[in-house]
């Protein structure tokens, strides 16, 4: 089984995405052999009211809830996000959140963000945070959105030991406290592999050694990205078969509370 922690549906304003409908994404998953995907709305990143994107997502994936797992984009600076969170968790079936502090103009240290994280923890929702959505070099001329700083993520996990986090589309964790065996951060976060190296610098292998086998998860970023490079990373990874299985599915299922489903 393969579970992707990082998939998207909907439109991106600056590039036409293919396979960005539920049927399209499922076809892409079938082609790549991916069974399930944690999916959020790409449009919700830019909608002022992200909840509209969450509703679009819920409609699209309703017939496919066995394979597409909804993650809600919540902006804690927007009016009555608490209501949106409750609707996403209680009615739309969200198993996790996606946060975009630098697109939504807040800091991870802001009080509103801490309130959101606490509320997510109360509801046992996984909080996923993409370090970046696209490569900076190909940004549109209208906007510049910096990457989320790894030291801010490290401070976040320390502030919320009872929450569970997944960090997506980042790299160089091994050079930060998040990837260090010596740091006393809580073990409440996992790291997605989409930009991590499997060969040469071999960051995935290093993280398996420093954090443990249960802290690295499969993530592609499809349909922004081809899913095959992430699959290839696991294929060529210098690791035991059971470690690869943990990365491909076991760790994600446990995070999502679906390991006993």
């Amino acid at each position: 089984m393969i579970v992707d922690m990082s998939a998207y549906l909907g439109h991106w304003p600056f590039r036409r995405l293919r396979h960005n409908t539920a049927d399209g994404l499922l076809a892409l998953m079938d082609r790549a052999g991916i069974d399930m995907a944690c999916t959020s709305s790409a449009g919700a990143i830019f909608y002022k009211n992200s909840q509209a994107g969450n509703e679009e997502l819920a409609e699209q994936i309703a017939p496919h809830r066995d394979r597409l797992i909804p993650f809600a984009v919540i902006n804690p600076t927007y009016a009555d996000w608490e209501h949106d969170l409750a609707v996403c968790a209680d009615e739309l079936g969200a198993r996790g959140l996606r946060l975009y502090p630098n697109y939504h103009n807040y800091s991870l240290a802001d009080a509103c963000c801490n309130e959101l994280i606490a509320a997510a923890a109360d509801r046992d929702l996984v909080v996923s945070i993409p370090v970046r959505q696209i490569d900076q070099r190909q940004r549109h001329w209208l906007i510049e959105v910096p990457d989320v700083a790894l030291h801010d993520l490290a401070a976040l996990v320390a502030r919320h030991p009872g929450a569970r986090f997944v960090f997506l589309n980042g790299l160089n964790f091994v050079s930060s406290p998040l990837g260090s065996a010596d740091d006393d951060l809580p073990d409440n976060y996992a790291i997605g592999i989409s930009r991590l190296s499997a060969v040469m610098q071999a960051e995935i292998k290093q993280l398996l050694e420093t954090l443990g086998t249960d802290r690295v998860v499969f993530a592609t970023g499809m349909p922004f990205k081809y899913p095959e490079p992430a699959l290839l990373k696991v294929e060529v990874l210098d690791a035991a078969e059971e470690e690869k299985q943990a990365i491909l599915a076991g760790n994600a299922l446990r995070l999502l509370g679906m390991d006993a489903d």
Binding site: R15, R16, L17, R18, H19, L28, A32, D135, R137, Q138, R139, H140, W141, E144, R195, S197, A198, V199, M200, Q201, A202, M222, P223, F224, K225, Y226, P227, E228, P229, A230, L231, L232, K233, V236
Partner: protein, 257 residues
């Protein structure tokens, strides 16, 4: 035959881990099914001077000797050092078996200072791999970076040359680059870079044709192989991109003699 058209060996800084890094590249190539790596070394300080690019090329020659089954060499020069650059290219191609020339960002590729290098490469029958990228902001660190439009201008000025536009996935807006190369039918585009946007390879095949695309990684190894594996293109096109086109380029050296 799978040929990575854009790779680098490590600069051998004193006390550095270059040997380990070169070995890791060869190991990665073996694990990913890459038969040949077309490698250059760039000087860490640029613009490079003749001592610097000669040193870099000495180490490439040594890498070719260490890994004869894997490494093919590009000769790196700064075209601003005209006489020394041309002598270095001729020496490396004719005496040391290098397969082409690597140009970086000391000059934009369509500036007249680059033309003698292109003319020599035509004479020798070897390609030029040119660093390139197009972002929609001023790239402060690279004021003279070339882009696909400049590559197209150079290729149309010298249609008999084999100009390779570097890293579609490492240089900003790849859709812009593909469009910019559309009307330069003799220019090639390498597929390297860490960006693995879905649809990138398919658009390049649609607009430019598979004959003009060269598989490459530029050290982003699983990205390089994975995007070709993931692209919805014909098996015939995939074979051309993975090595067939580069083999045709390498064969033109023999025709030039």
């Amino acid at each position: 035959m799978v040929i990575d058209a854009h790779a680098h060996l490590a600069w051998r800084a004193e006390g550095g881990d270059w040997e380990e890094r070169d070995r890791a590249l060869i190991d990665a190539a073996d694990r990913l099914g890459i038969d040949r790596l077309c490698c250059s070394i760039l000087t860490p300080a640029r613009p490079s001077d003749p001592d610097g690019f000669r040193q870099a090329n000495d180490w490439v020659a040594d890498g070719m000797a260490r890994y004869p089954d894997h490494v093919l060499g590009y000769c790196y020069v700064n075209p601003g050092h005209g006489r020394e650059a041309l002598a270095e290219i001729r020496h490396r191609i004719e005496d040391d078996g290098f397969i082409g020339v690597k140009l970086y960002n000391e000059y934009r590729c369509h500036e007249p200072v680059v033309w003698p290098v292109v003319e020599l490469c035509i004479e020798l029958g070897v390609p030029i791999l040119h660093h390139a990228g197009h972002s929609h902001y001023y790239v402060e660190a690279q004021p003279r970076m070339s882009d696909g439009g400049m590559i197209a201008e150079l290729a149309n000025r010298y249609p008999e040359a084999m100009i390779i536009c570097g890293h579609i996935g490492g240089g900003g807006d790849w859709e812009w680059t593909i469009e910019a190369l559309r009307h330069a039918p003799t220019a090639f585009l390498d597929t390297s870079g860490s960006v693995i946007d879905e649809g990138m390879i398919e658009m390049a095949v649609d607009v430019l044709g598979a004959d003009r695309l060269l598989f490459a990684c530029d050290m982003s190894m699983t990205a390089g192989v994975g995007k070709i594996r993931g692209a919805r293109i014909s098996d015939d096109d995939r074979r051309k991109i993975l090595g067939g086109n580069m083999e045709r380029i390498l064969a033109r050296r023999g025709e030039a003699r």
